[in-house]
Symmetry: C2
Subunit: 338 residues, 2 copies
Amino acid sequence: MTDNRVTLRDVARQAGVSHQTVSRVINGSDKVRPATKAHVEAVIAELDYRPNAMARSMARGRSGILACIAPNLTDYTFASIIEGAQSAAREHDYFLLSASAHDEAQFSKLVDQLVNTRRTEGIIVINPYVNERYRHLPDDVPVVFAGARPREDSTTSVALDDVVVAREATEHLLSLGHRTIGMVTGPMEEDCCQDRHLGYCQALQAATLPVDDELIIEGDWSPESGYSGLCTLLAKENRLTALFMQNDSMAVGALRAARDLDLRVPEDLSVISVDDIPYSSFFTPPLTTFRQDFEFIGAEATRLLAEAIENPTDERTHLLISAELVLRRSTDAPPATV
Amino acid sequence: MTDNRVTLRDVARQAGVSHQTVSRVINGSDKVRPATKAHVEAVIAELDYRPNAMARSMARGRSGILACIAPNLTDYTFASIIEGAQSAAREHDYFLLSASAHDEAQFSKLVDQLVNTRRTEGIIVINPYVNERYRHLPDDVPVVFAGARPREDSTTSVALDDVVVAREATEHLLSLGHRTIGMVTGPMEEDCCQDRHLGYCQALQAATLPVDDELIIEGDWSPESGYSGLCTLLAKENRLTALFMQNDSMAVGALRAARDLDLRVPEDLSVISVDDIPYSSFFTPPLTTFRQDFEFIGAEATRLLAEAIENPTDERTHLLISAELVLRRSTDAPPATV
DNA sequence: TTTCAAAATGTGACCGGTAACATTATAGCG
DNA sequence: CGCTATAATGTTACCGGTCACATTTTGAAA
C-alpha cells in the first residue's frame, strides 16, 4: 500500500545516467550505446521499474485508451465483438474501455466524457443507428462501426456482408425446394436489416419468384418478435414452408411458435437464420444458421481504429465479413403435399 | 483534429483569476466566493472547458480507473456482472476497464500491466480459482471477487448464497415428491460448486434421505458435460426421477440427453438448475431455475471496491446474494410408478 | 477607526514522463 | 595530431492539473 514506486529518475540516479537516457532505453530508442543500454536495463530489472502510463500519456498527449460503446454488454453478439476488440487492443498497445449506453442521452454523455475528459483516442461503435446515436459521434477522434455499415461512406466500418448472407440463406431454402419463403426482419431502421432484406429479394428474383410483401414481417431481434412474427405470417399465408429469420434469437421464438401451433420443424416448416449464438445447437430442433465471427469483426475494428489513429486520412475503409453456413436440423425439403 | 484544447490556465486568464481558483471551482470546492464561482463557471461554459482526466490523474496520483478480469467477456454470466460493475463504476466516478485472460500467464501479465503500468486503483476478479489465478493477485491494490467467495476470508467478495440456493432447489424437488435426485456439479475446484454440493446434501439430510455419491457427477459447466452427466447417471441408477444441475448450461445439455434417451421432461424426469440465462424459457421444456441477479452482483462489487479504495481497512466484507426461483416447465411430480 | 483572525485568492513547485535543444564523446580524415 | 561530423548523453522546459503554503481581502470585535 505504501506508494514507494520507482520512477524513471530513480533509475537514472541509480544507473548514473540522465533520466533522458533511461527514457530512451524504455522506448527501445534510436541511439543508445549497447553497453549503456544493457546497464540501464539491468538497473530497471533490479529496481523492478515500470513506466507510469499516466505520466506517459500526459507527456505524449496520448491516453493509449480506446473505447467501445454498445447498447449493452450482455448481448452475446455485442460481447463477442468487444471480446475481439479488447484483446486486439492489447496487442496494439492500447487498452479498451467498454461501456454501455442504453439511450441517446447516455450515449452522448458517454462520448463526451470519453473524448473530452478521458482523452480516448478512438471509438468503436456497435449499433450506431439505434436511437440516433450516430448524431452524437465525435468529430475530432476516429470512429469505427463494428457490425454495421455506415450510411454515406462517412465512417470506417467492419460488418457482416449482409446482402450475401441473406441471399445464401434464401438460396439454401430454395435449393431444398421451398417456394413460399417468409422472412422476419430486424428493425428496419438498421441498415443490416435492409441489406438482408435485399439479399432475400435478390435470391427470389434470381429464381424468378415474386417477392411477396405479405411474407415479410418486421421484428425487433427478440425471441418474442420471432414468435409473433411467425404467428402473423401463418395467419396470412398458410402455404408457407420456410422461414428466413434475420437472427437466431427471433428464430428461437419462431421455433417455439411452431411447436405451439403443432407445426413440426423441419418436416412442416424449415427455419434458417443468422448468428450462431451459443445454444443454437441445443434448441429443438438444432438451428441451421450462418455463423458470424464476431470476435474477428471486433479485432478488425480495433485494427482499423489503430491505423486511423496513427495515420489519419480521409479514406474510409469498409470491411465486409462473410458468414459460414452451419447445417443443423431446422431445415429440410418442404412437405410433399402442400 | 486540431488539438486546441482549452486548459485550466486558459480559463483562469480569461476569467482574470488564478489557475488555482479555477481548480477550486471545478472541484466544487470549499471556499470560493459565490460571485467568483459564478463568474468562473460562466467562463468555463463559454470556452467549453473540460478538465483533462489524465493530467488530473497525474497530479492526484490516482488513475480513476478500475478493472475487471474474467476468463472471457462473452459468457452471459460474466458479461452481466461486468455490465453491472461498469455502470456502477461510472456512478462512482470511475471508469471500468474489462479484460479477459484465458489462462494463468495472461492473467498474471494483465494484473501486472493494470496495476503497475496503468495504475488501476482496484480490481474485480471473476472466477479467481480457475487455473490458480488467485496466486497472482496484487497486494498493493484492493481486490474484490465477484461471483465467488474467497477461501480464508482474505478477499472482499460478492457472491450467490450457493448453499442456500442449492438447498432450496433440492427442497423444491423433494416437495414435489422426488426421492432419487441426481446432481451434476461444476468443477469441484470452484468453491461455489462445493457450496452447492453442501446445500444439496443438507436438503437431503433434512428430509432424512441418504446422500448417494453414485448420484453425483462432476461436470465442467458446459452443456456437453450436462449431457454426458445425465447419461452416466442413468447408466448407474435407473430410478432417477429428478436432477439438480448446478447451472443452466449443463441443464440444457441434460434436456437434450433426455430427449435423445426418450425420457420426457418433466413427466419422466424433473430438471432444475441455477442462473436463468437468456434463452432458458425457450428450451424444450422451458427451464425451471433460480435466477441470479448478476448485474447487482457486479454493481455491489464495484461499490465495495470503491469503498475499499477510499477507506482502506483490514476488514473484508462478504456479501451473499440470494436467487429467485423461476418456475417453468421442467419440474413436476415424479411418475406414479417407479 | 483600528486590529486581527478567518476567508478568499494567488504563487510556485511538483506529479513522472517526453520533446527539443545543448553539450560532450567518439571516430573518421586530411 | 588537430579538426570536424556524428553519435551519445545531458539539460531544461513542458504536458495540465493539484498541493502546500504565501499573500491579500474581508468583516466582526475592540
